[in-house]
Structure formats: structure tokens, C-alpha cells
Amino acid sequence: MGQPILRVDGLRKSYRRGLLRPVETFRLEADFTVEEPAVVGVMGPNGSGKTTLFELITGSNTPSAGQVLCQGRNVHEVRYDERDRLAIHYHQSYQVRHFRRTRPAFLMQRAGSDYPIVHLFDEPQFNTQDGYIGFMLDFFRKLRGEGRLVFLCLHPNERFHLEILQEICERFVFVRNGRLTHADSFDELVGHEPVREYLGALLR
């Protein structure tokens, strides 16, 4: 096979406060590779950096260091109006991106893709009453089957959220304080003490 579907390479985002003596208030660091199409579950407390990670992958947020390669293409070097052809961020039901445009399009690369390769679902509304969960999970499977990479970000607060993650995800990322923990199975994931602490009563 050619390039990995996603390579997050030495990615760092620092937020600082103060002009003269800036103090770092938050730092996200990520370095991982996804070789093949997959459904990846992303979990972590609010404010841990999940959405920042998604924004860095879609290129709507600029990293302090490192790069994101989507099938070999550096997302942050692609024209703003074509970045969502590589990676698309779904905020619940609709999609919003605000790209800070700092370079003219002709200096940048084309996406080379019509339909997004990486699909990041940020806390979709799951409701056991309306039946849409089934349709959404089938859609994630379909995307994966068509060679796409799916990230499903959830902040589980009900037991069925864990059922969803267990059913659909083949690997997991746990984000806490800007650090990522990776797991290749649900069992491995919940073997980590910080994850057990985070999920608390849902695991019992």
C-alpha cells in the first residue's frame, strides 16, 4: 500500500497568555499514524483537547509545530477552500469551519479529492428513542468500507454510549490534559486507570 490514510506527525498546539512573559495555558501534543481505513473512537473530558485535535486535523486551526498528512498530503498546505475534501469536521448536525486565510490559494496545493477522506464526528446527538443511531452506525461502516477514516468523538454519559463505541470502533484514543493514550481494543482502553477513572460508574 502507499501512504498511510492519516499521519499526525509531531503535532503540537500551545495556547499562551500574556504578552511580555507568555505563560502556556494549554498544550496539545499528538503523534500517531492510522495506516488503513478504520473507525476510531475518541473520548476524554471536556476541555481535554478533543475538538482542538479535530480542528488541527481538518486544518481549521494552525499547529504550533508538526504536520498532518492525509494520504501523504499536508493538510495545512492545501487551499483553504479544498481542505474539507481531505478531512471534514461534523459539529453535531451541521458542519462549520472558519479557516483563517493567510495565504492566497495559488500558492497552495489542491486537495486532489472530491469526497473527504477523513470524517470527524464531534459528539453526534445519539438518542435511543428515535432510531437514528442505527442509521448513523451503518453510515460509519459504509464510509469505512469505501476506504475512509472515521473519527467518532463521544463524551460518554450513558451506558449505551459505551455500547456504541464498543460496537463500531476498532481503535481508541483517550485525550486528557492535551495528551493522547491509544488503544487497539475496548478492553485495552478500559485497562488504563485514567480511562477507568473517567468512565467511573458507567463501567460497573
Partner: protein, 247 residues
Amino acid sequence: MALFEARGLHKRFGDQVVLEEINLAFEAGSLSGIMGPNGAGKTTCFNVLTGRYRPDRGSVRFDGDDITGWAPHRIVRRGISRSFQIMNLFDEYSALDNVVVALPSVRSRSFDVLHAIDADSEAQDRAETILDRVGLRGRERVNVRSLSYGERRALEIGVALATDPRLLFVDEPTAGLGTGATARLAELIQELKRHTTIVMIEHDMRFLFGLADRISVIHWGQVIAEGTPDELRENPWVRRSNLGGLA
């Protein structure tokens, strides 16, 4: 071949993708349902299908013609009609007048049509037949303002039928209706289905699953699931939901 087919529809408003690769096919003589959560892009999709918005990419075909980007009135003339989620009726006029002014034979005349209507018995007959079809027999002379909400919905569909469409789009017909009115509307649509190909956006899943031959589920501006009501109901998560209990 399907009577109506949309392929690879894509629509963006500014930075926001509202439709992403929409593929839909509606067979002649069928009732196709479109459902999806709020903000999923259903109404935008309808607006692209019926010519109100031009897609950025993709094509719409009707009965052999590529109608992508055609003006709405041209699409209507070609045989596609649409009833709206927000009703477009003249409140000060009777149910009959509302249908008469929508008739192509009347529309093609001057703008001052309402004064000439009474004299046109052919148009009146035609409008009466339509009102009968939508269950408004005996209500022809009632002002729209005095009709019940359910009757206005039926009249809205009657207005859409005035152009004698081969394909009728209906946008959320049960919105705001009570149980009784919804049941009457289901009967009306069941009856219309015998003569007209129908595409219906609907929020009320019970209503839609009871009437549609095929259903497309739209979410995130895409068709995320598609099938007959029975096929969609087989999904274990659907069976666990309220929808699972529907007969």
C-alpha cells in the same frame, strides 16, 4: 429507469457544506420518503431538487431530461410540483379560488385573474375536482382563513395538484397537525399515491413508515441510510427505539 434521479449533488453556503454527494432515485408510481433530524439538510435538498437552488456539483434528471439549474417555473411546467412546509395560500379568498388561480390555464392569462374566475366554468369544474380529490368537497366557498389547519394542509396539496404534476414533492405535511388531522392526511396521501408519484419529507416517522415505499435518511447533508420501511426497521438499534414498535 427512475422517473427522477439526483446524482452527486453538492451544495455549499459560504464555508458550510450543506449537501455532500446526495444520490437519490424516485421510481414512477412510488411514494419516496425523506427523513432526517433537524438541520440535516432536508429542506435544502428539496430546494435543490425542485430548482430553487442550483447545486454546485451534480445533476438532476427527470423523465429523461437533465433539469439541473432549470428555473422553478420551467420545472413546474415539465411536470413537477411542490407543496411547502410554510403554506402559500391566499387567506382572503375561498378554497376554490386558491386552486383556480393555480391552474395553468388561468395562470397563463393576465395578472388580474381573480375577477374573471367566476365566469370560467371550466376552470371551476377542474378546481372542484381537485378539491374533491383532497377531501375538501363542500368546503369550496369557505375562506381559507376559516379553514382548519388540517384543511389548509389539504388545500396546499390541492394547489400543488393544480398543475397536474407527474411528480409531487410534499414538505413536512404533518407539521402542526393533531392526531385526527394526521390520520385524515394519511388517507389523502394514500389516495393521491394511486395516480401521482410522490416524494415526501417527513418528521413523523410513524406517518412516513406507514406510507412510503422507500425511505432515504438524510443526515450531515448526505444520505446515510436507504431502504424500504421493513429493511430500515431490521436494524437492531431501530428495533430498540420507538420506531421499532411501529407495526
